[in-house]
Amino acid sequence: MNDEIAISAKSIFKDFYLPHEKNDSIKSKIVNAYKKKDRGADTQHALKGISFDIKKGEFFGVVGRNGSGKSTLLKILAQIYRPTSGTVEVRGRLVPFIELGVGFNPDLTGSDNVYLNGALLGFSRREVDAKYQRIVEFAELEEFMSQKLKNYSSGMQVRLAFSVATVLAESDILLVDEVLAVGDADFQRKCLEYFKELKKLKKTVVFVSHSMDAIREFCDRAILIDEGRVAIEDTAQNVAKEYSKLFIKDTNRTKQRQERWGKGGAKYNKVSLAKTTITNDDTVITLYAEVESVNVDGEVIVGFMIKNGADAMVCGTNSAIVNQNINVEIRKGCVANIEWSIPNIFSDGKYTIDVAIATSTGETLEWWSNSTEFDVFNYQSTPYIVSPKFNLKYKAASRRSGKRNRN
């Protein structure tokens, strides 16, 4: 193996043997408990030949949908599972954070748990002692360390776990599985800063995440795993783009998640978009909706809300907020057409739209979640929630003739 390489995975296959549920007799259970591998019919092929090299000091992303096999891969890299075939070579000390707070015991005090967790990661009491103060400060739990963990709030537990993991992780290679989504906003920012720090320190990090923003922001390179194979190995940008395309294939996804509720009286007949695939060339996204009144007469409020693939609410508004001197009025048995022009501020990804109609006093007549959806391929996409068009003006600094005026 090349000196520059931290982790080298060569054609990793992993099969799982799923137990028969029907074999209930004691005899067959005893016989089968030791013959699992003969029952090929129940084999699940989780990984089908995965190879990649991770260089030293690289921030390497692993992305994939649920069930694509990325967690299995991470467990194989961490040597928790052994591959059915193929090899993994690791150079240097590897610390896995498959889950935070491994071995935490609710009946032990915070500080006991720090030492126990440290020992599980291979750090002696003396090594933990040296960093104990930093762990406590990072977790912001100074007054609580001598209390039992069961008296901690869940947020406090997570903070402690993350602090132990991060402060102790001064090893060569880190495996990180979706730990960003913990704690309150303040703590999350701290964690993000920590990741930036890791990047600066040139640690080798294998990072599994669903958050394309995080992948784009931190990773140098990434692989996309789909159905147990490496679908693409490229820069984080390109892999993230490929990942969002995966979801476009799932046409039924939105329909399955549709939900309509409200007190009734008026309803949306249909919601549609002028275009469902949006690129940079589109400055606006046009949303059409048809509203029908069943038994409501008079002024109503109509609105919409746009959510991204991670279900974060990106933007939205309603007729009462916009107030363009248009009063939306509906009449019993009649249909009204609504057209919204939404500026294209979106980053790459898939978006869904909720629409709603309410009385002028704010009572919801109907809320239709995930009524329709659209995809954005924005070539100027940023890793942030929105990517509006920005204009940059620039004038080349020209040398001034004559002396500068010092006053």
Partner: protein
């Protein structure tokens, strides 16, 4: 050479120390009397068995200090029983950690055995008190008793190393071991003196002494409390009766270590 050894076992050693430390802290969590239970448990068991077997059934009259020997036997049996029963379920009990991190798995079994060993030492306080009350004189031979206890420890560890991986795959092992362990209890001359068996059937007594538990319990009693506690060499000059149990311990331990080592990489998936 030394460096390589240190490097190889550093992780194991760190982990063992921490698991023993936290295990000890957790042992009597939430109980008002805490560690005193380590003393009370053998004490009350002794009182009960004393009344049943010595007082009413009048067993062991021919062995001087039999009640103290019986207490010693019970303490040792409890140790054996604790090592094997906690060892059996120890791997499954740590499934949460095993699924998330790779570490030397045998430390799990070892740490629960060391905890039982600590408990045994606490039990010796009770034994020492009774020995002082009973004016048992301690000779130089007492120095041999740790060797017998070590034999018992190795035997119990070997069994744990066999049972723990089996239990991962087949939970029936738990019930099976309970039954086997009951049989072993009565087949180990813990609550009756072996001299009682000798007077009825010498062959049976010899067979009982082939059991490593009997050998270590009787040996430890013989060394610490008095030579009236019969060991194999008292019954026969055939060295076979002394060596077989030792060999058995070695075989069980080696099989256990081999099986555990072979199975442990799959624990994370099988649990």
């Amino acid at each position: 050479m030394r460096d390589r050894f240190v490097k190889k076992y550093r992780y194991s050693w760190i982990l063992l120390k921490e698991l023993v430390r936290t295990g000890f802290k957790l042992r009597y969590q939430g109980s008002a009397l805490g560690y005193l239970w380590s003393l009370f448990k053998p004490l009350f068991m002794f009182i009960i068995l004393y009344f049943v077997f010595v007082h009413f059934l009048r067993i062991g009259g021919d062995v001087p200090n039999w009640p103290i020997s019986m207490l010693f036997g019970i303490v040792l049996w409890n140790f054996f029983s604790e090592v094997t029963s906690t060892g059996l379920s120890s791997v499954v009990g740590r499934s949460d950690v095993i699924r998330k991190i790779n570490f030397p798995k045998y430390i799990i079994v070892l740490s629960s055995s060391v905890l039982a060993l600590i408990n045994l030492l606490l039990n010796f306080i009770v034994l020492a008190v009774f020995m002082a009350i009973g004016h048992v004189s301690i000779g130089w031979s007492a120095l041999l008793s740790p060797l017998y206890i070590f034999e018992l420890f190795l035997f119990a560890m070997g069994i744990s190393f066999i049972l723990a991986p089996l239990y991962v795959r087949l939970r029936d092992i738990g019930y099976i071991w309970e039954i086997v362990s009951q049989a072993l209890f009565y087949g180990s001359a813990v609550i009756y003196p072996i001299s009682m068996v000798v007077s009825q059937n010498v062959v049976l007594a010899k067979l009982l002494l082939l059991n490593p538990i009997t050998q270590s319990v009787q040996g430890a009693r013989n060394a610490l409390i008095g030579s009236s506690n019969i060991v194999a060499s008292d019954l026969t000059s055939n060295i076979f009766y002394t060596l077989t149990p030792i060999l058995l311990v070695a075989i069980i331990f080696i099989i256990g270590a081999w099986l555990f080592k072979k199975r442990s990489p799959d624990f994370a998936e099988d649990i």
